[in-house]
């Protein structure tokens, strides 16, 4: 029994990180993927902040969905209420972190407001709903998705740090070459398709 649960958890996390990677397979959260990947340190900071918000949002969204929306047959309100949750939660997290962990607030300060409009944060609760997960699996999958997002950002920032030093034709410097690189990184993750059945 325990073994099968552990197996399910591990498979779900690995699926979320590798096979269904938020950025590289589902093309969610492209803005921070291109926006904050110039340096590995900022990419890691953004990834951790997004992971935290995704997990908490997904939990709250699950509770709201099962207690309010499904019994009232109001599933069509999911997008709206989830956005409400994200916006309020990011604001709340910012207030709390600022009060109790000032160093973390200083480190994440610029990223927290950005997360409100990150579609990956909205995408994960919606995916959870469509997969009919229970609360536990919902949190596990959300953590995996956040970890996958962080991994994608860190890997891509490494690629971009190297590209900065490469001799790239003038027309392709900056965003064009970054898009090429994103395509290649995304194709490499395509190889994970069918890893788990």
């Amino acid at each position: 029994m325990i073994a099968s649960i552990v197996q399910q958890v591990v498979v779900t996390i690995l699926t979320a990180i590798l096979v269904e990677n938020l950025v590289l397979s589902k093309f969610l959260g492209m803005c921070p993927f291109l926006g904050v990947t110039q340096k590995t340190s900022t990419a890691a900071g953004m990834g951790v902040a997004v992971t935290f918000v995704i997990v908490v949002t997904a939990g709250l969204a699950w509770v709201l969905n099962t207690t309010l929306l499904v019994p009232n047959k109001m599933e069509y309100l999911q997008t709206m209420t989830y956005i409400l949750i994200i916006a309020a939660l990011v604001q709340f997290v910012e207030t709390v972190v600022r009060k109790f962990v000032p160093p973390l607030y200083k480190a994440l300060g610029i990223y927290l407001p950005l997360i409100t409009t990150n579609c990956a944060v909205l995408g994960v609760p919606l995916l959870n709903t469509s997969k009919n997960y229970d609360l536990g699996m919902c949190l596990v999958y959300s953590f995996g998705a956040g970890a996958g997002f962080t991994l994608a950002l860190i890997l891509f920032s490494g690629v971009r740090e190297r590209m900065d030093r490469a001799d790239i034709p003038a027309t392709l410097k900056g965003i064009p070459s970054a898009l090429f690189a994103a395509t290649l990184v995304s194709m490499s993750f395509f190889g994970f398709q069918g890893l788990f059945q």
């Binding site: 709201l64 929306l69 709390v96 600022r98």
Partner: protein, 279 residues
């Protein structure tokens, strides 16, 4: 009627209710977790120049304001703002002003392109640090200003220009932030108190004949200025003279007696002729 309730009132109640709950939670948390910011920090920050140069040793103007309010730094610790800002900050904090002389940076090299020799033609990156890494740079004198303007790029106040291959400080613009001191790979730039007009524009510790071969205006370590200075403000160490700005009386005797013109009047107007790099 039931349809109306089902289709309009319930969704509105759910979204509105959720929004209301979150609103109350946020309003409450904003009060409960409010971070008190000392209003003096805001006022000190407003009095500061706001360049965030970091010359005070703090990470920026905001950190300096916090440190000043906490009493960790002196109110006049901002080298950019100087005495005027120091007085304002002290007034906000209710402290006495301690007077420190304003500083200005000086470049200790006078080896212009015309009067110093090159040991090879340098075709690499236009950067002093890069040039210095290659056999100490193209200048025959290993101590001289390379003139690629690393200090010009580092200066946030456009206070440095390159004239004939040597950096010159525009004293009116210099805010003594010391960014250039760190940027110079030859360590030629130093801070001296304002109002001292004379400078030994050479840092070469080599012996006289070698200096003479490399540069027309180098300090050859003859020691005449040390003997002639009426204020005993000049000392000789490692074959190069040094003026102590605290003892210097601006009498200009040293400028007159120096056989190689290595001692210069820094107040002389800067003539831009063949500028390699300008701000």
């Amino acid at each position: 009627m039931n349809d109306v309730i089902q289709q309009i009132v319930t969704p509105a109640a759910i979204v509105g209710g959720v929004g209301l709950v979150f609103g109350i939670v946020l309003a409450y948390s904003a009060k409960a977790f409010a971070v008190k910011i000392d209003e003096r920090i805001t006022r000190v920050k407003a009095a500061l120049p706001g360049v965030n140069c970091g010359a005070c040793g703090q990470t920026g103007c905001e950190s300096f304001a916090e440190a000043a309010v906490a009493g960790r730094v002196k109110p006049d610790g901002c080298p950019v703002g100087g005495a005027a800002v120091g007085a304002k900050v002290a007034a906000i904090l209710g402290l006495e002003v301690t007077n420190t002389a304003a500083f200005v940076s000086r470049v200790a090299c006078g080896g212009l392109l015309g009067c110093s020799r090159q040991k090879f033609a340098y075709e690499g990156m236009k950067s002093c640090t890069a040039a210095a890494a290659l056999h100490n740079g193209p200048k025959a004198c290993a101590f001289g200003c390379l003139g690629f303007g690393d200090c010009v790029a580092a200066c946030p106040f456009q206070a440095i220009v390159i004239v004939d291959g040597v950096a010159k400080i525009v004293e009116a613009n210099c805010k003594a932030c010391e960014k250039c001191v760190a940027a110079c790979p030859k360590k030629l730039i130093s801070m001296v108190p304002k109002g001292k007009n004379y400078l030994v524009a050479c840092k070469s510790t080599q012996k006289g004949p070698v200096v003479k071969k490399n540069c027309d205006v180098g300090c050859i370590g003859c020691g005449i200025c040390v003997k002639k200075c009426p204020a005993q403000a000049i000392t000789m160490a490692n074959n190069v003279a040094k003026i102590d700005p605290l003892l210097c009386t601006n009498c200009a005797t040293c400028v007159a007696v120096c056989p190689t013109n290595a001692i210069v009047d820094v107040t002389a107007p800067i003539v831009l002729r063949k500028s390699v790099v300008t701000a």
